[in-house]
C-alpha cells in the first residue's frame, strides 16, 4: 500500500508511476486525500491498461489499480 496522503500533486501519481515502472505489478493500492490525486492516478492507470476501483472513506480515498486481463 502506497500512502500518499498529505502530499500535493504531482507526488502521489509519481509514486504510483514509479511502482508500476519498477515491477509492473498486477495490483497497486494507494491512499490519497484529494480528488485531484484520484483523477490524476485514474488517468495514469488507464494509460497503462489498469482498471481503478475507488473507495471513499472519511474524506480519504483508497484506490486499487488492477491490470486489465
Amino acid at each position: 500500500m502506497i500512502d500518499a496522503r498529505g502530499l500535493s500533486c504531482p507526488m502521489p501519481v509519481v509514486m504510483v508511476q514509479n511502482e508500476v515502472k519498477k515491477s509492473s505489478p498486477d495490483e497497486v493500492k494507494v491512499m490519497v486525500d484529494s480528488m485531484v490525486c484520484v483523477e490524476n492516478i485514474t488517468r495514469f492507470a488507464s494509460s497503462k491498461q489498469y482498471d481503478v476501483e475507488v473507495v471513499k472513506k472519511d474524506g480519504e480515498f483508497e484506490l486499487t489499480l488492477k491490470k486489465k486481463k
Binding site: 500533486c9 504531482p10 485531484v36
Partner: protein
Amino acid sequence: MDDKIKLTKLANCAGCGAKVGAGVLAKLLDGLKVRTDPNLLVGFDKSDDASVYKVSDDLALVQTVDFFPPIADDPYTFGAIAATNALSDVYAMGGEPKLALNIMAVPASLPKDAVHQILHGGYDKAYEAGAIITGGHSILDDEPKYGLAVTGFVHPDKVLTNSGAKDGDVLLLTKPLGIGILTTAAKADLVSEDTMAYAVRLMTTLNKSARDAMVKYRVHACTDVTGFALLGHACEMAQGSDVEIHLSVGDIDLIPEALDFARTGILPEGMYRNRSFAEAYVDAGDTELAKQDMLYDPQTSGGLLIAVHPDEADALFEELSSSVPSAQRIGTVRAYTGGARIYLR
C-alpha cells in the same frame, strides 16, 4: 549541498494555477453593488482582462493588477515572469503599459538578495515594456508573492475587449500551451532542462509584439490566455460576444513534453477547476482526453487569443509568424446556434 533557495518549495500553488476558479469568483462577487460611470468603457461585467476609463476623446486609462506565488525557483526569473504576466492584461486590451507598482509578499526569512532579485526581474520586464515602476507595497507572509498593478493608455476607439468577436472571424493564438502542466511536473523534477528553459522563455516573452502587430488590423476581440486556460478564456469570449467558437485541435501548438505528462496523469489542480467551469459549454467531439486536458491547462503569462476579420487574417498571421513565440491559426468564430459555445474538432 546546494543551499540555493528554491522558491517554488515555498509555494502552495504554481503561478496562475493559484487563481480562484471562474465559477467561484462569480459567486464571491455576487451581490456586490456595481457602480457605473459613463466614462468607464470596460468594467468587470464581461470578465475582461483590465478596466478601461475614458479620460478624453483620444485617451483612455487601462488598469490591471496581477500577482501570484513563485512559479520558478530562481528569484530573478520569478520576478520577470510575474511582471510579464501582469503587463499582458494591458496588451490584451490593445493598450500600452506606462506606470507600474510592485505588489509583494515575502517571508521574513527570505534573504535580502533573493527579494532584490525578484524585483530586479520585474523592473527589467517593465522597462522592456516601456513602463516605469513608481513604487509599490510589500507585506510579510509565509508564502512569497509578487506582481504588478499596471496602468496603461489606449485610444478610446481602439479598445479591444474579449466580447467583440464576430461571425466569420479567424482565431489566432501567439504562444503554445502546456505551461501549467510543465510547472506541475517540475515540482517532481520530471521536466527536461531544455523544455524547462523553453517554458521560461515563453513565460518571460512580453505580449508587446503581438499587441503591436494586431493593432494594425481589424481585430474584433482579444484576451490573454492565462489561469482559466484556452478553453476558459475562449468560453468567456464566446459568451461575451454571443457567438460560438470552432477550434481545430490539430492546429493548436501543444508543447510535446507537456502532452506526454498529460497522458500519464501529471496534471495541475487548476486544470480540473477550469474543466468543471467550462466543460458544460464545450462539445469536445472525439478529442483525446489528454489533448482536452491541455486546452484546460492554466497558463502563466500565456499568449494572446485574437479574433480578426477574415480578410485580414492572413496578413496578421504572417506578421505574427515573425514576431511571436508561436503564431497559430486555431479556429473560427460562427454565429451562435444555441448549443455548445465551443466545438473541438
